[in-house]
Symmetry: C2
């Protein structure tokens, strides 16, 4: 298996950093240049794109608290980054601040939401309505952040007819129809690992080009399909690695360190939220 020679139609996408992977297309490039819309945001670095949602959330929080204006320093603290990075990130999408003053919270919030594309709702389909699928379907952050669950699908017919968060669970074979009827562009895979590749294949066949995968498996998809991966055990293992290093560096092993524990300020809530 895995000959280096022939070029397969599908290939396993390269991993980027941080536990999530995204297949980008380095080849096609496509000289769009002046075809986006009104703004001058052609290519925003991937690292910046990954932080924009964090800024957006921080801005919503600030707005809810009644803040109308904020400096890059304040917003950076709320978002957990340093202010230089924040300013550079924002500079990729235009000059939306006022020197000497800061940013208008509402205005910047709208601009970022527009850039990300969450000013209107994206229809989403979730496949695999087990424990995780239930949790995802009930997740309130969906509707409040620019996404709408339009279909829940599961191969297990015992689950058909059940209603989760106001949406009926349907047979997996309805995927094609659901995608067509609702114009679904984003699919979420919450199935066991064994089924994930098949589900992904079907999604791709239906025209879905953006997939969020919770199954612990590396999906093989065509180049123009984006796959982001959320993998619980990988995250835990990364933590374990650092924990082990801490333990080795200081005292012996696991039994942890309880002794002088509570010296920390405890309830000293920081600036953010």
């Amino acid at each position: 298996m895995a000959r280096p020679g022939p070029a397969h139609k599908r290939h396993t996408q390269p991993h980027t950093q941080g536990g999530t992977s995204l297949s980008r297309v380095p080849v096609r490039e496509r000289a769009v240049t002046t075809r986006t819309s009104t703004d001058g945001a052609r290519d925003i670095p991937e690292a910046t794109v990954a932080r924009l949602p964090v800024y957006l959330r921080a801005l919503v929080t600030l707005a809810d608290q009644g803040t109308t204006t904020c400096s890059s320093e304040e917003l950076a603290t709320a978002a957990g980054v340093n202010s230089a990075k924040l300013r550079k990130d924002l500079s990729y999408l235009g000059s939306y601040g006022t020197r000497g003053v800061g940013y208008d919270v509402e205005y910047l919030r709208y601009q970022i939401a527009r850039q990300i594309g969450v000013t209107q709702d994206w229809p989403v389909v979730i496949v695999g309505i087990g424990n995780l699928g239930h949790a995802l379907a009930n997740f309130s952050g969906f509707r409040s952040r620019g996404f709408r669950v339009v279909a829940l699908l599961d191969a297990d017919e015992h689950r058909h007819g059940e209603t989760v968060a106001g949406v009926d669970v349907r047979p997996f074979d309805d995927l094609d129809r659901m995608v067509r009827e609702h114009g679904v562009a984003i699919g979420v895979i919450a199935t066991p690992a064994a089924a994930a590749q098949d589900v992904a294949d079907r999604m791709v066949a239906c025209g879905i080009r953006s997939i969020l995968n919770f199954a612990p498996i590396v999906l093989a998809v065509p180049d123009d399909v984006d796959v982001r991966k959320v993998d619980l055990s990988i995250e835990l293992q990364i933590l374990a690695y650092h924990e082990q290093r801490k333990a080795n560096g200081a005292d012996a092993v696991v039994p942890s360190v309880v002794p002088e524990s509570v010296e920390q300020g405890s309830t000293a809530r920081g600036g953010a939220a």
Copy 2:
């Protein structure tokens, strides 16, 4: 707030890439050098650490299929990376391959597991037993990948006494006792955003230094605490961004960009919230 001047005891950690964040300590360094154990693996790059669990999983899969030896090319394909990167990654933990032959699957599997620290189980506590908490508690990948859920905690007393995946749901106040009794080093937060910071504070006070956070909020923790974040809506928003670009680049699907409507002052109650 958020003056650059004074150094706070706790600070909001910087974000790394890919939707997960990890607070690393650039200061302490601590010249350990010769104190790890038998091997010579001092500092493994963060990007490599993030991929080791992927390799480990690929190796387990290969072993299950009966493969006893594999080349870097094969393993790389199974893990979704290119072979050069794989070899470089593995070189950070030592020379465990045989030139001209490849890697012994079982041997390499053990070496990686040892490096990550999952040769024995890590006791884990989960706080917040809602939909997500249920899903996590039932997640089989826990036990099979070096972790053991030793406690489920929830502030809601209606959930106390319930048993999920063989573990009783207990009051949140039992955290300290559970941590001490079982030597818990890793905590998982699956609470609503509003409660997450309090939970994190308590965890830190109990001596937990590794936290996996599912709540959509930036946690403020001391420097020596690692926080990894899993955020569904951020992942979706990143997908939405790319999806929007695809749509804009090709045809004009999806109502897409609202005119240039919102200018500075307006209330612009845009999409989110």
